[in-house]
């Protein structure tokens, strides 16, 4: 009951929240819970309210209330001049968004999924990421490209790719990927305020998940720093890095590993570019073992970069080879059993952690 009350309250302006929150808190000892969806929605709402230059653009963001309801209520609140429904023409509307950013506006361009961003990738890379450099600082591009990234459920090969490593390899871009509601609010607000182009990789399956958030997180000034990872769970035996949905899997794996006496330190990257190399390396220097977890294709992936960074900076501290857990090296299949094999599972993370700790379990036992 408290949960639905909070969801209804969130639909209104945040200025009305404070008394309600204190009422709620006096009745419950648990922190407030909001879904990732509501976290993103509130972040967009607050940033649009604070800065008239911020506007939204994308397919179905307005009248449809958002393909995944992330932009719900914003058209009614800010009007059609600031919440723009576009035709299904990514190259065109992304270019228009980047041009508006050249002029000094702050567009938030939604891709219905990042698979469709490939149609506009020239504008993201060549028109947005590189402009500040090529113009020696004359043309900065304060734009945010956001949308769901990676696998959903049963959507097949063309709708399931993770673009984290593609975008994160490009200098001039910042690439963020939230896990929970706090991440969603803090990172999206930071992205909108940032003067550089930011690729904001959400996850469709996380939209409906609720996470506890403190009052500080709910405040309209709340912002997370870009380029800083978060240690979600402290440990001493093995470091597990992850981002987005995989953070949840890593945390569950850590709980199970603890029963076997392995204490895993789970790092939520939050920022793929800039990558928080110092937090990762500091952790590895403490635990001496590393598992990188990601949903995307393994070759040239985020884990490959993290592994290289650790080998370069902390080689002497490694007691075992770095392990990579990633999506299977195949296009995403449709059949449920094959899909399950194509995406990392909690067992995969556990197995890799045990390998790194020289406590492997024979394959037959994990089947």
């Amino acid at each position: 009951m408290l949960a639905t009350a909070s969801q209804r309250i969130l639909g209104q302006s945040f200025q009305n929240i404070r008394p309600a929150v204190s009422v709620l808190r006096s009745y419950s000892s648990a922190a407030k819970q909001i879904t990732v969806r509501d976290a993103l929605n509130s972040a967009l709402d607050e940033e649009m309210s604070a800065d008239p230059k911020v506007f939204l653009m994308g397919e179905e963001v307005g009248e449809y209330q958002g393909a995944y309801k992330i932009t719900k209520g914003l058209l009614e609140k800010y009007g059609p001049e600031r919440v723009l429904d576009t035709p299904i023409t990514e190259a065109g509307f992304t270019g228009i968004g980047v041009g508006a950013a050249y002029y000094g506006l702050k567009p938030v361009v939604e891709f219905m999924t990042f698979n469709f961003s490939m149609q506009a990738i020239d504008h993201i890379i060549n028109s947005a990421a590189k402009s500040n450099y090529m113009s020696a600082g004359q043309i900065s591009v304060p734009i945010v490209f956001r949308g769901p990234n990676g696998a959903a459920a049963g959507v097949g090969a063309q709708h399931s790719q993770c673009y984290a490593s593609w975008y994160a390899s490009c200098p001039g871009l910042k690439v963020l990927s939230p896990y929970n509601s706090e991440d969603a609010r803090g990172l999206l607000k930071a992205a909108i305020r940032d003067p550089d182009p930011v690729v904001f990789l959400e996850n469709e399956l996380l939209y409906g998940e609720s996470f506890p958030v403190s009052d500080e997180v709910l405040d309209s000034s709340f912002c997370l720093p870009i380029g800083k990872a978060k240690i979600e769970r402290e440990g001493k035996d093995v470091t597990i890095t992850a981002f987005s949905k995989m953070v949840g899997y890593a945390l569950k794996a850590a709980e199970i590993l603890e029963k076997d006496g392995i204490y895993a330190e789970v790092i939520n990257l939050r920022s793929i570019r800039p990558l928080d190399r110092s937090t990762i390396n500091a952790s590895v220097r403490k635990t001496n073992r590393l598992i990188t977890v990601e949903e995307g294709f393994p070759q040239h992936g985020v884990g490959a970069e993290i592994c290289a960074s650790v080998v370069e900076e902390s080689f002497a501290y490694l007691d075992a080879p770095v392990e990579r857990i990633a999506g299977a090296d195949v296009p995403m299949p449709y059949a449920a059993n094959l899909e399950r094999l194509a995406v990392p599972q909690i067992e995969d993370i556990i197995r890799a952690a045990k390998r790194a700790c020289y406590r492997s379990v024979p394959l037959a036992a994990t089947a």
């Binding site: 506007f55 001049e81 723009l84 576009t86 035709p87 023409t89 190259a91 065109g92 509307f93 992304t94 270019g95 228009i96 968004g97 980047v98 041009g99 508006a100 950013a101 050249y102 002029y103 000094g104 506006l105 020239d122 504008h123 060549n126 028109s127 402009s131 500040n132 450099y133 090529m134 113009s135 020696a136 600082g137 004359q138 043309i139 900065s140 304060p142 200098p171 001039g172 910042k174 940032d194 003067p195 550089d196 720093p225 870009i226 380029g227 800039p274 190399r277 370069e312």
Partner: protein, 434 residues
């Protein structure tokens, strides 16, 4: 007055026009109207590479040796464009245009400067002082100059990689051009951009883009921002006949028409997309009609007055009714770029034919002479001065240093957040991005 004349005579060749003629033009120009004339100021400012004064009379000797009296006569002259405009989905503007001696002489000087600049760039490229890509605009000067005359600096211009002259028209300097082409610090992009990446944000010139067609949606985005900010200004997005077939152009045009954006799409049709003639690339080479629901105008792009008229018309139209397409029928004398001789896909006869029949500078020269606005010698003197300006700028650019090595790591981000970046050997070269 007599002192002025004798000083002038002493510093020039003896075979001049008779003194009586000359004193007449000096008289006219030494009594200029006190109100500032922006085009005259622009023209005058280009005479002297060093500091300039408001009056033609001081400092006396340097003023006379460096500057030529140019007609400040702004009495309207009525002319007709070479050909009438052809319209699609709109009513064509009149082919009768108003100009003045002052404006025509300014056009002549500006185009002559651009022509000289591009030819000098050709030599620099062959001398290997310019590297990579170099796309020259000679032949197309009337489009840049005529467009600028119809706009204010509040209006935005965005183009592709054939951008040197558009940059100049927006107020760039020769030194910024040559230094950038040669990769030096004084370049408009501090040497980090190169030929295809000239920008001048304070004049609302947004580049300078290497990806064919990308600049059109970007330009529509600029127009969107102008409308959003209620600036009452427009954006001119230039593209070539090669880019005219790009899908993103039609995507951007569709959105611009739906949202009534003040966007003018200008197709600089020089009839060749790199080495491919328009009839081999476009099923319909009537580019001004390709907007379908969007109105269009076909313009003689070699006639600077027609370009100015069309752009004035388009600006008014776009502010009220949304996007419009202008097709400028123009021609480039050089190949697509310096690595293209430009003669394998077209005949030398064609090139010389255009030079003889349609050259934009020659056209203005004929107009000026036939209307007795200046003498042939005066025009030749302008060309000589312009040549000297270009040579001086090149000499200055050659002396200019290359960027510091630390510049490798600047401007990657507007806000670098103190993150680390790496050189080729990351154990050797690292930098913190400010």
């Amino acid at each position: 007055m007599p002192t002025l004349l004798s000083a002038w005579f002493n510093s020039h060749q003896p075979n001049l026009h008779p003194p009586s003629f000359y004193s007449l033009s000096l008289f006219r120009s030494s009594h200029p109207p006190p109100s500032p004339n922006p085009t005259l100021a622009m023209a005058l400012s280009r005479f002297a590479s060093s500091s300039r004064s408001g009056s033609l009379l001081k400092p006396l000797s340097s003023a006379i040796s460096l500057r030529r009296p140019i007609s400040t006569d702004t009495t309207p002259i009525t002319l007709e464009t070479s050909v009438p405009f052809t319209a699609h989905q709109c009513e064509a503007p009149s082919r009768t245009v108003q100009t003045s001696a002052n404006e025509l002489l300014t056009f002549f000087r500006d185009m002559a400067l651009m022509r000289r600049m591009e030819i000098a760039a050709d030599s620099l490229y062959k001398a290997k002082l310019i590297r990579g890509f170099c796309h020259l605009y000679d032949g197309q000067e009337a489009v840049a100059v005529g467009m600028e005359a119809a706009l204010t600096k509040k209006d935005c211009i965005i183009t592709a990689y054939r951008d040197h002259c558009t940059f100049m028209a927006r107020g760039g300097t020769l030194l910024e051009v040559f230094a950038e082409l040669m990769g030096r610090q004084a370049g408009c992009s501090r040497g980090k951009g190169g030929s295809m990446h000239f920008y001048k944000k304070d004049s609302n010139f947004y580049g300078g883009h290497g990806i064919v067609g990308a600049q059109v949606p970007l330009g529509c985005g600029l127009a969107f921002a102008q409308k959003y900010s209620k600036d009452e200004a427009v954006t001119f997005a230039l593209y070539g006949d090669g880019a005219a077939n790009q899908g993103q152009l039609f995507e951007a045009l569709n959105i611009s028409a739906l949202w009534d954006l003040p966007a003018i799409l200008v197709c600089e049709n020089n009839h060749y997309g790199m080495g491919t003639a328009e009839w081999r690339a476009a099923k319909s080479p009537a580019y001004y009609k390709r907007g379908d629901y969007a109105p269009g105008l076909k313009v003689d792009g070699m006639d600077v007055l027609a370009v100015k008229q069309a752009c004035t018309f388009a600006k008014e139209h776009a502010l009220k009714n949304g996007p419009i397409i202008l097709e400028m029928d123009t021609y480039r004398y050089h190949g697509h770029s310096m690595s293209d001789p430009g003669s394998t896909y077209r005949t030398r006869d064609e090139i010389t034919g255009v030079r003889q029949e349609r050259d934009p500078i020659e056209r203005i020269r004929k107009l000026i002479l036939s209307h007795d606005l200046a003498t042939e010698k005066e025009l030749k003197d302008i060309e000589k001065e312009v040549r000297k300006e270009v040579d001086d700028a090149i000499a200055q650019a050659k002396e200019n240093p290359v960027p510091e090595s630390s510049e490798l790591f600047t401007n990657v981000y507007a806000k670098g957040l103190g993150v680390e970046s790496f050189g080729a050997d990351r154990k050797e070269v690292r930098a913190t991005l400010p």
